[in-house]
């Protein structure tokens, strides 16, 4: 959930127009599927951007990314291994070298998507996003719902933490693993759902008494293109061309795969 949380910093990414960031993120995501070389380079660029934009400051980001990577990688390794015939088995009929390679590549690409989406949301305020989306004439009720969801993420995250800690002190960690898992689910989910629904209801009330959906909502800040935004657009364009050309001049794979793959 914290993937959508805005991190108040003043990096170059924070200063870019949301449209430029959106195009840049799309370029990164789409180009990573052009060829394996692009994927590798884009992963490097994405990690550097992730650091420079200070998106790593999002809550629990290291833990979440590690767990996501491990799960994605293992699941895909197994699925690729059993789905495609192999010449080199690392564990007979279970995990193959080709599976390892393909899984790594897919995990890489999914991580590129996650990291770039995180960069976009952690450097764009919900207000900038609202003004941008209003300026391209998307329905205002849809925009308000979307930006409010992002605005309320930190509050909901705190709510989750508060209920989690209080319930833990009611004794759930004292017991065996199976009971603990069922205890977690039952004792956390219901109070959390009730709490989130209550808040959602209260916010919906506020929207209603503040005249939502509006017939014609005023754009509160005029986002203007700056010199840096034009440079950002040119860089994005150059990147997409470069990544496409890389696929034409370099071999399609890093390793020699089974002819069936």
């Amino acid at each position: 959930m914290s993937f959508f949380e805005y991190i108040p910093e003043n990096t170059i990414y924070h200063r870019l127009h949301p449209l430029v960031k959106l195009i840049y993120v799309l370029v990164m995501i789409v180009s990573s599927w052009f060829n394996v070389w692009s994927a590798l380079i884009i992963m490097g660029i994405s990690l550097a951007s992730f650091y420079v934009s200070k998106s790593w400051k999002q809550r629990g980001v290291g833990k979440t990314l590690t767990i996501t990577t491990i799960i994605l990688f293992l699941l895909n390794w197994f699925l690729y291994s059993v789905a495609y015939p192999s010449e080199i088995w690392l564990i007979d009929r279970f995990l193959s070298l080709e599976g390892l390679y393909l899984s790594s590549l897919l995990t890489f690409r999914i991580l590129i998507i996650i990291i770039n989406i995180m960069i976009f949301f952690s450097t764009t305020t919900p207000e900038e996003l609202e003004d941008f989306l209003l300026s391209i004439h998307l329905p205002s009720s849809l925009i308000i719902s979307f930006t409010l969801t992002i605005t309320f993420i930190p509050l909901v995250a705190n709510e989750i933490k508060r209920i989690y800690q209080a319930q833990l002190l009611r004794g759930i960690t004292r017991i065996g693993l199976v009971k603990r898992i069922t205890g977690y689910i039952s004792s956390m989910m219901l109070p959390l759902m009730i709490s989130i629904l209550n808040r959602a209801n209260r916010v919906a009330e506020v929207l209603e008494i503040y005249g939502v959906p509006p017939e014609n909502r005023t754009i509160l800040t005029n986002l203007r293109f700056q010199k840096r935004d034009y440079i950002g657009l040119i860089i994005s364009l150059l990147l997409v061309i470069t990544f496409y050309l890389l696929g034409l001049v370099l071999p399609p794979q890093l390793i020699s795969l089974s002819p069936y793959v």
């Binding site: 960690t173 039952s186 503040y210």
Partner: protein
């Protein structure tokens, strides 16, 4: 006189419910009047506000009867959104939910932007509204950096920005500390003096509002039990026994035996002639003896930034003691609680549990020894029946079925819920929910109980009920740490000791009388109880609760 709002025969039953939330309400409010709606939780206060602003019956569906008139125009069929455009504005209970942007100015501008005003007009109106609530210097601040009181003032500004004709406030101070609440009400008083505005405010905090409102109405079970000029309402005997908080000044008039509905000044004048200082009863500090169950030594703590949240705190909590921790918002109360329950580790110093031989323990080590109840503890309920809710921690401890059954019934009896054991905890009253969750926490048999602002948002009856339940737990030799800034509740309760935190320092410590009577409490951004203020004004600063007041009044009638 012009009628700002008129309700004719309003009845409403929420969809899926059988009991009406409002029954046959007839109400007429004059233009520029200020009306207080009060009553116990669940009496229909919020529903009445929602009928006026249009959330009922257009947002909340159900069986609705009656008509709503706004300046003689029938607005019954208009939605909340349409009534907003006509000039009906609302301030809700929870400021966080009403501030819909990260920035202060955008939060205030939210409603105006929906009305389609040009940007320049919006900015002008935002600055005007922020100035009205004395927050003009917060224009570009982040909402998250504000205190709860400041947030509620911003919510008020966003309601005022459209220049409404009718302002509805639904328990606007329930989430605020006493000083913030006082300031909020002061701002409200100043605004209504200058603007052409009709105000309807639903509140439990009657002491602060008594001199401000013109009319009052009291709801019970969805019906108006009494309405009229505020003095007439609170001097009515039926109100005294309705379970709502009666203003302290009225209780004093009753104690003095005054029957002619005197003004505040008259009551204080009579009081000054009837007060004779006597020896006050000793304050019970029975809990503060023996070995401490919790020692805090030279404790300091800071979050990631450089500012210390707690500085050099030294504190002992004794077995069977009822300790109250007070302090303004941001004084470090909740951080102290988190350090006590092991959710945070101190940067300096120690949290010691001598009986368990634990120093700076993790919260896992404290399970079963320390209980923690956050704000709105009844939100933690998740089982199908009250029986299962109490049995849940016992089952986790592997207690056999027969013993478990016996224990559940024993605990239920202690908390007065033995007759509703097989009911769903979601279908019972708020008070019964509170008893259920406290019974469930009690089932773990902890030694130390930490309650973190559990009375926030509760009506007076529920607050006193909670204190009664806490005292039952205390009688079993348990140690209670109650974190609160509810000064009136502390004043009227039997507690052993108070500590006051101020900007992370242990500012004041002592029994109730010495702490509440001290002027240092004002320096800690807290306020004194209403009774203390009244007696201070006639030169008796040592009176901090009503029992003491009765001791001083000759021929007092106990209200």
């Amino acid at each position: 006189m012009v009628k700002a709002i008129e309700l004719k025969s309003i009845s409403f039953t929420y969809k899926g419910r059988t009991r009406p939330a409002l029954s046959n309400i007839d109400l007429s409010l004059q233009k520029r009047s200020v009306t207080l709606i009060t009553g116990r939780s669940g009496s229909g206060k919020t529903s009445l506000i929602k009928v006026i602003n249009g959330l009922i019956p257009h947002f909340y569906l159900g069986k609705f009867f009656g008509e709503v008139y706004f300046f003689d125009e029938d607005v019954t069929s208009l939605t909340a959104s349409e009534r907003f455009k006509l000039g009906i504005s609302t301030v809700m209970q929870f400021p966080e939910d009403q501030l819909l942007s990260r920035k202060v100015w955008r939060s205030v501008a939210f409603g105006l932007a929906n009305l389609g005003y040009p940007r320049e007009v919006i900015l002008r109106k935002v600055r005007w509204a922020l100035k009205l609530v004395e927050m003009e210097f917060f224009f570009d601040k982040e909402v998250n950096s504000l205190s709860a009181g400041q947030k509620q003032k911003i919510a008020l500004a966003s309601a005022l920005a459209i220049e409404p004709q009718l302002l509805l406030l639904d328990e606007p101070t329930s989430q605020l500390d006493p000083l913030s609440a006082q300031k909020f009400i002061e701002v409200l008083k100043n605004i209504t003096k200058d603007l052409d505005l009709t105000v309807v405010i639903s509140e439990h905090r009657v002491d602060e509002l008594y001199d401000y409102v013109d009319e009052a109405l009291i709801l019970d079970n969805g019906s108006i039990i009494i309405k009229g000029p505020v003095r007439d309402v609170f001097y009515n005997e039926s109100v005294w026994h309705s379970g709502i908080k009666v203003p302290t000044i009225i209780n004093l008039a009753r104690a003095l035996g005054l029957e002619e509905k005197p003004s505040r000044e008259e009551i204080i004048r009579v009081l000054s002639t009837r007060v004779k200082p006597k020896r006050l009863s000793n304050i019970n500090t029975s809990g503060k003896s023996g070995e401490p169950v919790l020692r805090i030594r030279d404790l300091s703590f800071k979050y990631n930034d450089k500012k210390w949240v707690l500085k050099n705190i030294n504190l002992n909590v004794f077995r069977g003691e009822f300790l109250v921790v007070m302090g303004h918002n941001g004084s470090g109360k909740t951080t102290l609680a988190k350090l006590m329950i092991g959710l945070l580790k101190p940067n300096k110093g120690q949290v010691i549990y001598p009986e368990k031989k634990l120093i700076n323990p993790s919260f896992k080590e404290l399970i079963g020894y320390v209980a923690y109840a956050p704000q709105n503890p009844e939100e933690l309920i998740f089982n199908q029946t009250i029986y299962d809710e109490i049995a849940f921690p016992l089952r986790l401890r592997g207690i056999n079925k027969q013993k478990l059954d016996m224990l559940v019934r024993e605990i239920a009896k202690k908390f007065g819920i033995e007759n509703i054991l097989y009911k769903s905890p979601y279908s019972v009253s708020g008070g019964e929910k509170l008893r259920t969750i406290l019974a469930s926490i009690y089932a773990l048999d902890p030694v130390v109980y930490i309650f973190d602002e559990p009375t926030r948002g509760l009506d007076w009856g529920r607050k006193t009920e909670l204190i009664d339940l806490i005292n039952r737990i205390k009688r079993d030799g348990k140690s209670i740490i109650l974190i609160t800034h509810d000064i009136e509740l502390v004043s009227s309760s039997n507690i052993d000791r108070i500590i006051v935190l101020n900007n992370g320092e242990l500012w004041l410590e002592g029994d109730k009388r010495s702490v509440l009577a001290s002027d240092k409490i004002l320096e800690a951004k807290l306020i004194k109880p209403a009774i203390c203020d009244i007696f201070s004004s006639i030169g008796y600063r040592e009176i901090v609760d009503f029992r003491d007041a009765l001791t001083y009044i000759s021929e007092a009638h106990a209200p």
